[in-house]
Subunit: 333 residues, 4 copies
């Protein structure tokens, strides 16, 4: 951490600050410039409240030089993490195609879609059983029944299943789920993250609507610090002033996250745009831009979907898209 | 709900859409304009996926004309709600002054601050026992011990206590807390909201970092739909491109919320700005702008505060501010 | 335009409103629903101040159903516009590769880069002569001299030149420039736009930092309404809370703009990210996502570039990228 | 400027970087920490492209420690600037009340409003003659005629006049205007700013929709660096995800700007909210929060206003508000 003091600070006040910093176990390197004194702090600077130091009247600026994330930091773990779910691998060149409906609605629906997307090349099945809805009056998902239907679809197709968990209290129901998804609204539900850190199964962690990449990585850190290192990050659009799409897909987050962390990064073009006809171009863009996979909503009857039909592709649209994604991946290899 | 169709839509497709809408129990009023057909939908339109309808290729625009929030809607409940905690009232002209440290650190600290802020005119005590922190390596609060220390401070001063709950599993510990706070990161933790709806005590609901007023009201609705109508809303800054303050205090939300809902609305200038010296001007602005109360961080030793010291006032600063707030309230009455 | 009135509005006040609307030359279709009266307005609704109507106390909501842009609207001009600059075509399957330095610095520099990017497949040369800089103390460009150097580079390579114009008063100097660029900060400099509408040469119109797609199209409309229909739109990143990249590239704007308008849309990954190593993945993503071209900064000596070196590729990096872009374009055709 | 290098950088590369920095006329202080080398740069660091240095692979972070604004910086000019227009003073405790219609429409209108707002205590008259409109099809103002009508209103009331200038070419028409306003869309129209810097009359500089405080100050710097030091800054709302008000009023910008600069800062609650009934609470909030003045839209017939009627107060509403503003200013003195 680097602390630059204001010009003309008295020796005494400088000394007080240095003493206080040293009292917190830090070593302080003082560099007296012509106009300004700069302190370099070495030690466990996580203990220091950077905002507090910055707010002192003798301090000009404070800058952390080391990121506070450790487990997920590529600096300390240069090789890509490859998350494995049965035969499916994600990361380091392994590309995953996750597809399925927003909500599980019936056995016929989920098994039908699972078979269709598998035939198109998907290697994992998504489907919501517990649904976070802005309104308490909206459909909240089939819950436990939905999880059972997902398992039936898995049995029929062999596709591992991904589904969202919203609460620690539901954990026992997710025992036999392959990948647990943390939704955007729960990205900073720290109690949930800590519990998931104690599991031995992959977590799909979605970026929150208004969270920075650093905050996303700190949330991954909550899981990893508890022992679970199988994390897939997911960019799914951020909230901006823009009003034509539901969210703004921040695709540059993909190569930036690849620099910062060794974890795989996938993209959800369905939630990012909220509009089915924008999903194919954004899916192709994500594949070209280096994503490690795509999670796409597919529904066999979007007109009657119980939620989020507007952003779902029909199976035949997904089939065409899957072929084009393979072509793009071939082209950028 | 109003659905405007595109120009030149065939009669057949119009008919199909109307039939489908009617199959969902809605009455459809058709208005044929010179250039455009407009459908007026009457009935329980919450069942209809507005985004799906909007995404149909024959549809131009869709517009909900009734807000989806009911319990908290001023239209159906024109009188201000007054939340009562013992002798303290909030709303409809009753102004609350909540003050205290970011985190409870020790008995001496919390009792000392409680006495000081009471002397300055505060009528409720805040203090964090369970702390949501971006980093798993940061101080997470004294938890159960912190709650006990708050109760000691209450006993010593008579001030009701407000403190944040982060997880349903912690609920039993909060039995004897006066007001439960839902933090910004948990504004859409729907399981938590539903549980709080089953309690018989006031909830202080903070607006999420990137949530609209409608989303804030829908979260209040989650609590109210479960039977608990004692809710205090809190504006605490939103995330924008702006980089001088931690968040951007959206003060116009106060009069706008007063229009939309009968619930009281308070302001948290400490978290909104993140900088102690901006707290007084923003607290005065909130009082002048019609807020029903203020929640302000006060610490007797900001330099050593375990978290968020940068935004805390010292007791003597709070004392001066409290007097100025009273003067402003007098002026705008 | 559709105006939904509040419930329980008196007949008299309804009548007053309808009369006022009719006094502005509009035909008003009244649709009395069970709970709500809806007015459909037909005629030249651009004369009506939608915000004023919305603010009336008897009005619930107002919704424009027709976009206010006409010349650039795909509804009235379904075929793609192809902008032609000599042999170079942009739009409707014609892809342009614009490359060059942020600023023109010397004859050697601009000619050298022009030859290099031409060899890599670029078909237009960019280079700033008039530079909009946040600080008055930063390098402002070589101005008229810079334009002369660009023309020398054009003579040496045959590449048409694109360069930014910042002020109406500089117009005479741009007589012999092939494409005039309007930068993000000037997207709503309406006087400049109107003057450019009187020219007979293509305009490259960049989206403003915080402008919606509708506003971008309205700015194109300012140019087109004055007679110049040769416009190339450019997505170059928007301002969000995100702090890892300079701006957030809003790639979904490309397919969305293609829906709304017949004008070609290109992408500037250099300014969008501000970081050279993110330019290749975002350029590939843009090509896969349907952009009609790319404008990329290339500098032969980024370390000494007078401005924006951080986002420039070296010629050899551009050469590799250009080949990959061709491969992606081939894959998505 | 402080440059922190990455760990494990070779001596040779460190040496190259230091040499390059020194070649730009800087003195480099090297501080070797245990884990990290930190360079302190002294000299005219404005010449150095911070983004370029930050992008070098051996560099971890770069931090400017001195703000790039000089003329408007409070550090170099601790006393408040007081802008004087005839008898009217703004800044350092002098509060200005600017009021008037969005657009000048007729002599009767502007004279009538001028008399009314003067009677309520306003000490300056605003009114748009040149109107920046998003759409080329909207009313663009009475232009030169509007300026003449403003002067008539000034003659009748003695109120100095404030009106927006959009283009350098219109400057001769503004010779007899008291205060020239630069609108939000032109905040970074650098050519215009430079020309205004050569005038000897006050400039009202509005913050752009998505501009940081630093950018606002750099734009003031463009004017001041050319010799004109009479600048009034104006906060008028920023663009955020929020959709209930037109913009989000960033009131904390007022005390923050007072810290950074000696220039007076006023607030425009009319454009910030876009809704007349939110203007009074936000005007009171601004007065309580330390603004040096308010610019408020007043119209005697908001229903027929040619633009922005939705945000205008009627004269009788302004009269009530003006009294309450005086009371709040008294309370916070």
């Amino acid at each position: 951490m680097i602390v630059a003091l204001k010009a003309n600070v008295s020796k005494e006040r400088k000394h007080q600050l240095i003493e206080w910093l040293e009292s917190m176990g830090l070593t302080v390197h003082v560099s007296e410039g012509m106009y300004q004194t700069v302190l370099g702090l070495v030690g466990d600077t996580n203990k220091v409240d950077m905002d507090l130091v910055a707010s002192l009247d003798i301090v000009d600026t404070v800058k952390r030089v080391s990121e506070p994330f450790k487990c997920c930091n590529r600096k300390f773990h240069p090789e890509d993490t490859v998350v494995e779910i049965g035969d499916v691998k994600i990361g380091s060149g392994h590309f995953c195609m996750i597809a399925g409906p927003c909500s599980v609605e019936s056995e016929e629906q989920i098994v039908g879609i699972a078979k269709a997307v598998k035939a198109s090349g998907a290697n994992m099945l998504r489907g919501g059983a517990f649904k976070p809805r802005t309104s308490p009056y909206d459909f909240q998902g089939l819950k436990a029944t939905g999880l059972e239907l997902l398992k039936i679809a898995r049995r029929e197709t062999g596709l591992p299943i991904v589904t969202e968990i919203m609460s620690v209290t539901d954990l026992p129901l997710f025992d036999d789920v392959d990948v647990l998804q943390v939704g955007a609204r729960n990205m900073q539900n720290f109690d949930l993250l800590q519990e998931l850190g104690r599991l031995h199964k992959p977590i799909l962690l979605k970026r929150g609507l208004a969270n920075t990449l650093k905050e996303l990585l700190m949330s991954a850190e909550y899981i990893m610090a508890n022992g679970n290192e199988q994390i897939i990050l997911c960019e799914r659009g951020i909230r901006t002033f823009d009003d034509y799409t539901r969210n703004t897909l921040d695709l540059a987050a993909v190569p930036m996250l690849h620099e910062l962390t060794h974890l795989p990064v996938i993209v959800d073009p369905s939630h990012a745009t909220g509009i089915a006809r924008l999903v194919p171009p954004m899916a192709l863009a994500a594949a070209a831009g280096g994503a490690d996979g795509l999670i796409i909503e597919v529904h066999n009857d979007p007109l009657h979907a119980l939620c989020d039909g507007a952003q779902s592709l029909r199976p035949e649209e997904y089939d065409v898209l899957a072929g084009r994604i393979r072509a793009v991946r071939e082209a950028v290899r």
